[in-house]
């Protein structure tokens, strides 16, 4: 399991490839991956910049809990969560979640669970900068 907060540029494809090198070749048949990327619009406004605040200590702890819960609920070979903190710009990756399994059902469901659980529990807060100034994002969009 790998869980990390990233303060500089997050490269999700590199993160997954690097992590995958630790897995036993031939053991997994299914990799499900999700990448959340910063959009340049939200709720009708252009967004030029996003600040990602977190709660050092608590955030990492909850990401680990989410990863452990996925491993308990599905038959997985491994999971990965990396999440940006600090200031990001449009087109920057914000988060990557991945689940490796022998079979695709477990990988798909676990990967989606990682994202939904992370969004509902891990203490991160987004403040976005628009033409009208900066504002805190009040809620996430529905995931199911």
């Amino acid at each position: 399991m790998r869980v990390a907060l990233i303060e500089t540029a997050l490269d999700p494809w590199q993160a997954v490839q690097t992590h995958q090198r630790c897995l036993t070749p031939g053991s997994y048949g299914a990799t499900a991956l999700f990448v959340g990327t910063m959009r340049d619009f939200n709720e009708g406004s252009g967004v030029s910049e996003l600040f990602l605040e977190h709660y050092p200590g608590m955030t990492e702890r909850h990401l680990v809990q989410v990863a452990e819960e996925a491993q308990a609920r599905w038959t997985l070979i491994d999971v990965l969560i990396e999440h940006r903190v600090g200031t990001v710009y449009p087109d920057d990756p914000i988060v990557v979640t991945a689940a490796w399994s022998a079979h695709r059902k477990d990988a798909f469901e676990a990967c989606r669970f990682l994202m939904e659980a992370l969004k509902s529990r891990a203490p991160f807060w987004k403040r976005e900068t628009t033409e009208q100034g900066s504002r805190w994002v009040e809620r996430n969009t529905a995931g199911y």
Binding site: Y55, M58, H83, I94, P123, W125, E138, R139
Partner: protein, 74 residues
């Protein structure tokens, strides 16, 4: 109990404070003393020592009590 109260994100900005030391026996009471507001807003989340708790939870000496708005990561 002497506890450390921490505020995050929009709550920190609205209250104009980041970290406050107070003497309180529950998280709710810690809110009142640290924020200067009588009641905890319904959408504010409460964590004690980095675990989510019910605001009525009793505190222990040295606890870290955090208040923050709904999380918006991912």
């Amino acid at each position: 109990m002497a506890v450390t109260v921490r505020f995050f994100a929009s709550l920190r900005e609205r209250l104009g404070r980041d970290e406050v030391q107070v003497e309180a026996s529950t998280a709710e009471q810690a809110w009142q003393l640290a924020s200067g507001e009588a009641s905890l807003p319904a959408n504010v989340l409460v964590a004690v020592n980095m675990a989510y708790v019910d605001p009525a939870q009793a505190l222990e000496e040295g606890d870290e009590v955090a208040f923050f708005p709904p999380v918006t990561g991912g």
